[in-house]
Amino acid sequence: MSEMDTNISKLVNGLDELYAELKISGDMKSDNFLAIRKLGTLQEYLNGQVIHFNGCDEVEGVFLVVSLSCRRPSSHQVCRIFAHDRAQNVVLEKPNPVDFMESLTVSTVKGTKDLSRSDFAVFEKPIFSWVESEIKSIQERSKADFMEEKERLSIYYSKQFEELKNKKKSVFFHNYFFEKEARIKEDMKQNHSEMKEQESLLTLRYQPQFQIDVLLHGSLSK
């Protein structure tokens, strides 16, 4: 066995062990995981592969494993498996694809001729609902931060505006008020445009930004 194969099997075994530990205790030490990850990552294997399974007791049809990576308003990554039972014409969903897939037996490598885009149209709505609810719950969690920031900026700019307005009033009696006034007006304009910038920046920071990737897909047969 080459050194590379040894490392791959170490990596696979390590991940198996850690995952088992996580399932039992519901917790794990991140250092252990990172020590395993030092060997590398297998994430590139999840790159839209087509896999055909047999020996699936539950479903006969097609499946998708979808990952949702949310970058904004906060970092969040989840994945989910969707399976379409042709016989019942229902879509099943599970939050953890591993548990479902561990029990499956891999069939052969087939071409993709047997599957078409239309087979997967049935998943559009369930994926939509899932992503929508995930993002909405992320947004719900971030809303308090947003409101706090908005409040802070709102107070800041209105206070700043008040100060500038008072400053403007106070120079009226000065002989050279027009120079000073022009400067203050410039500051007011700047304050205004800065506020507008902050408004768009705040919106941008809390605007949902996410990515949906189909990690695996294929067919299931009994």
């Binding site: 995981f33 970058r71 994945c79 953890n96 997967f120 994926i127 939509f128 206070k159 006034e181 022009a182």
Partner: protein, 764 residues
Amino acid sequence: MNTIPAGDIRHQIQIILTDHFMENGILQFEMENRILLAPHRDHEKVELVVGTRIVASICRKNQGYLLSVELKEICEKLRLEVGARIKMVRRISDPRRIYVVLPVSDDRLNQSILDTDGFNQSLKFEVDYPKLSESQLENEVKGALDSLWARESKEEQAGAKIEVKRSLRIEPDKQWLDVIHSISNTNAIENNEISSEPNLNSKDLNLSEQWPLVLAALKELQIVNILGASSLMGVVGLNDVDQYPHQLRTVRKVLFETGGRAILADEVGLGKTVEAGLILREYHLRGQMQALLILTPASLTHQWQEELGQKFELDLPVVQTTQDAMRFDRFIISLDLAKTSNFRSIIASRNWDMVIVDEAHKLKNSKTLNFQFVKGLTSRYMLLLTATPIQNELLELFNLVHLIAPGSLGTPNQFRKSYVHPVNKKLPQNERALRQRLSRYMIRNCRLETHLKLPPRRVLMRRLIASKEEKVVYESLTQFIRESYYMVSRSPKGLNQLTLMLLQKLATSSPEALRLSLEGILKKGELSGEMEDSFVSIKENCNKVVQAVKFEEVMRFVTKEAQGDKVIVFTQFRATQQQLVRLLQREGIPTAEFHGEMNVKRKRKQVEKFRNEAQILVSTDCGAEGWNLQFARILINFDLPWNPMKVEQRIGRVHRLGQEREVLILNFCIKDTIEEHIVNLLSHKIRLFERVVGELEMILGHLSGELKEIESLDSKIMEILVKYSDKSDQMKEIELLGDEFKKAGQNFEQVRKLQENFLGKGSL
């Protein structure tokens, strides 16, 4: 209101707008119209009512005019031209004001007033919480499925099959595994370039072989999803990074408390760059950092590049051209270059995930271009790194926090009132409250509290007496340079001042290295007859030197004094290095070497060699930048760079966090040469050898005049050497240069005190 009820009018006049008014806002009154100004005193403020707005004016009763820039602006906005007639009315019901009636409709007037100064009436920060767009979501879902299919049909057309490409990178200290899976090369398919020849680097696997890997990859993803939310993912498995509790605390705080926007203000030498690197790595591993901008002083761009690449596996280019600034999503650039107009527009137009500003005290003044440029950047995360957030006054700190979280310290006025001492602006008030508010955005680790004490540093000067032959080499070369320095060109081609400077430095490094350089120049055949004769003569003098005194001293020290301790010998020159390595190896002393032409892998091998078997490491300056060699404790400066930053970088290799033993620094200098002056400058004026690594950069920031660019120090020293042949004159001049450094050092000490005054001695 642009019309006045007739019964309410006391006086009414008509005025024709003049050029004078349209330029300066001065409304000159005819004698008969001056009655309107009668109730007011000269220089008195008069309120003009224009529509719904009250604008200010000054009454110059004695000169018979009113001055109002605001009225002028409104007229401009309404496009009233010279010759237009306006009415001015004093009302019975409101005798202290003058009502201005403009020849436009009320609607137009009011609209114009709003446009001119709309924010003058009210200012509201209005923004709603962004909503998820259903159509965007629908497109994303469909797009994810469509793109999958588009790819598959291409593969099918091209007859592609599942292929797993694997490659292995083996490092000396560990094994790294890169597993690269590609279903096929899409670009190749598009270009019909699929080769039927098997790829030697790839291995076809069938799906049943792959399945355990796919399943493990899914498990890995699940683990990442669970851990990612609360744990640090990037702190394990890093090369050459010693992580200290204060650094991990900082990373956690930035990630989980400050939302990725913070000022990292650790005291010098506590590893702010490492903290920033760890934070970057965390965001990188979480897929949160697609666009990254690092702004540093020009002198530090490559140091950042080296450090992030070597320690954090983040390979970032240093950008010098606008094309590169557009091409790369993640890069390092000097702040001075980035703020120039060409770069500014490119950089400011992008949405950054992270912006890092090193030496962020350069943003202290809100009126400067530096500050305005950074303020104009749109970035989700922002880190400002500085050991001295306050240089002169507390408001500078306000400005830095404003970049991170505008409004969090109130307005500048509120801030002054709350936290700056009303009489002595150099002193704070309400320190406790200030520290509490700052601690949300600023992280400051103090050496005292981290309990990270650096071991002492002992510095020994070895003033060596050159042999007669060496003296002849030095004197003859210096004399030649003195005569020809201003005769040769400054241009980079041919024999120029830079070459002469290098030769001068070589003369105190190694006569043998000097000889080789002279030979190289002679071979080019570009010298005039007289110069060529001089070079030949100096070269012959070099030949007469059997063993230079510095080499003898290295051998003596290594064999007699080092007692088996590991020793790093630094030289500026590759030729000197080669000579040293040859000499040491000839004597059977295990030696490793480090130079700038080596790639990271070779350097790592040499570090391992030095760590495990070699007693000596001979390094050039550019070879060792960014590497941690604190397992050694003795450093020999075989020759001394004239630029103190380079000397500090050398010291930084061994005298840094993680060093547990006393560090010994040996400076070799040859008596009665320029090196003696350099040693004095570095040790007595700059006090370089006493300072914590990192401080020098701050001190240099306090230099003024030409020395602001520290690179100019080389040519200054050279000019002194050329101008003054008398040693005491040379010394005097270099002392004067040194005084500039001394002053800068004193300024820095004051600034450091300020940090203590404002921020306290403890961590934040």
